[in-house]
């Protein structure tokens, strides 16, 4: 579908260093990276707003590296949506239909169709200045989708939106993806990446340093940066069991974990910060809802503490001080108890 091959671009402050990855048709591909990693520049390069110093871009078998922007059939939605302030929502959405051999009736039908999909039918006569951030983002999506792009590029589309709007837009993006739209989405938010992507590439200082499924990237971070950036070693696919309003979820179909009730969807990912896991030699009575016995599989000393890997059927990482390791006499193969609160379990719907 889209092959990005060894793209290099030096813009002084930012640079792209031989970036390569491949997005397949129907993918929801996430480019995950910190601010300043070169994500937006890469999207602008793919869209044709910036020409790379070297490398090539191939879309459906055609080299588009030097193709004109208007001939690429690539849609780009900017972080700040860049809706045209002097036009109505209708004029914004129909902007790309100008010059195409479409009569007014068909034009109207297409605008209405896309407006309905994005739930903005009631806004068509409004001016952008009267719209909220979420509505503007929907208009920007509609304006881009109406030209039926081969691939939709999204530049931090959920940044600077409040959490309710974010969740609505996530559902909307899933819906658009399920209708067959190939999407390349850049974000700095790993929750967004897990919630939406079926493939993730991590970009750092202008280079792609890891690529794979969410499980591959989060479970086996290939570098310290990825491990740190993705934020959690304890990362699992989870499924609500239906018990107690879905307040018990099964991790990797193995370990039942208590968490805050799953209101909307029983499927997703679970993250438990290794700093939130306690270790003890004996079970003890506390407010922690999750208490499991396991075997110490590995002890990994690090700068920010010692990572103790405990096998409880699945491997859980606990970050403790070296003093605790010696006080509890933790050694590999030893039986040990781990404890964490239901509120320490972070659920990300998928």
């Amino acid at each position: 579908m889209l092959e990005v091959k060894n793209i290099c671009y030096d813009a002084g402050e930012f640079s792209l260093k031989s970036v390569s990855f491949r997005v397949e048709k129907g993918d929801y591909f996430i480019l995950l990276g910190e601010s300043g990693a070169g994500k937006s520049m890469l999207l602008e390069t793919i869209a044709g707003l910036v020409h790379p110093d070297s490398g090539s871009l191939v879309l459906e078998g055609n080299d588009i590296t030097r193709a004109r922007i208007q001939n690429r059939k690539i849609g780009l939605v900017f972080q700040d949506h860049a809706v045209f302030p002097h036009m109505t929502v209708y004029e914004n959405i129909s902007y790309s239909l100008h010059g195409k051999k479409i009569n007014n009736r068909e034009k109207k039908a297409r605008v209405n169709g896309i407006a309905e999909l994005l739930s903005i039918s009631g806004l068509l006569e409004r001016r952008p200045a009267t719209l909220s951030g979420g509505e503007l983002q929907r208009v920007a999506l509609a304006r881009t989708l109406i030209q039926r792009p081969k691939i939709l590029l999204l530049d931090e589309p959920l940044a600077s939106l409040d959490s309710r709007i974010k969740s609505e837009l996530r559902s909307l993006l899933r819906k658009i993806h399920h209708q067959g739209q190939t999407i390349l989405h850049v974000t700095h938010d790993y929750e967004e990446a897990l919630s939406l992507g079926n493939r993730i590439a991590v970009i750092h200082q202008g280079s792609v340093i890891q690529e794979g499924t969410p499980e591959e990237v989060f479970r086996n971070p290939k570098s310290e940066f990825v491990a740190h950036f993705t934020g959690a070693r304890n990362f699992f696919r989870a499924h609500g069991t239906g018990e107690n309003n879905n307040s018990i979820a099964l991790l990797e179909n193995t370990l039942p974990v208590t968490l805050l009730p799953l209101v909307n969807t029983p499927d997703g990912f679970i993250l438990i910060r290794s700093e939130d896991i306690l270790l003890s030699n004996e079970p003890f009575d506390s407010s922690a809802a999750n208490n499991f016995e396991g075997t110490v599989a590995e002890i990994i000393p690090g700068i920010s503490g010692t990572d103790v890997v405990v096998n409880t059927g699945i491997s859980l990482h606990a970050l403790v001080t070296p003093e605790s390791v010696s006080r509890l006499e933790i050694t590999e193969g030893k039986k040990i108890w781990i404890h964490f609160k239901a509120t320490a379990v972070k659920f990300i719907p998928a």
Partner: protein, 274 residues
Amino acid sequence: MKRYQSIQLVFIFLGALILLFIVSPLLGMFLKTSPRSLFETAGDKEVTGSIWLTIWTSMSATVLFAFAAIPLAYLLARKTFPLKKLVTGIIDLPIVIPHSAAGIAILGFVSRDTILGKLGSAIGLNFIGNPAGIAIAMAFVSIPYLINAARDGFAGVPERTEKAALTLGATPARVFFTISLPLAWRNVVSGLILMFARGMSEFGAVIVVAYHPMITPVLIYERFGSFGLKYARPVSVLFILISLSLFIILRMLSNDTKDISFNRKRKNKKTEIS
């Protein structure tokens, strides 16, 4: 009651002095001109012809030169190129040089033995002592106002908006006419009005290029030189009144089209309330 700090009172006093400095000579001139002499002047064909000539030459200069000045302003706002600072400096030159000197320079540029003069002669047009020469002199001294205002307007248009239009399949020309120009329109119109106004008030450069036909600033000077203050005053008052009315109308028209989004916002709010 709002309390002012002593420094603010000093500023208010100084500001009032400046306002007085601007208003009192004008007010004095208006008060010393009787309505009768004003009506008589308004009926004087030489005066009305000269005012009409001033308006249309300045307007023609503004409209004609805008076709090249606006694209130049866009380039200056969007592109970086070698010697850009020099280009910007050149554009501001007409503001800093004495206008009589500018007139001498233009005279040398459009006289019969120059390329432009010869081209003009070929089609039967002599710039010296001709409205075309007046328009060129007016444009020379007033064009920086249009270019600078339009450049600021284009610089204020977010580049992302233009980029978004490009990704929506628009050609660069369509992006300019449907996005950049409408969004910078308020500044562009402001620049057009400033250029027009500055052209109308030009005296130094025009008098060197064309004493005749007489534009109003030259006519005022001529009446003052030949007949004295009393005869120059009614023409001045009439010219000021007409100029002011014209600019107020132009400003009102441009306010109607400026910041459409804001006006619509207010309209929508009203609808929501009702």
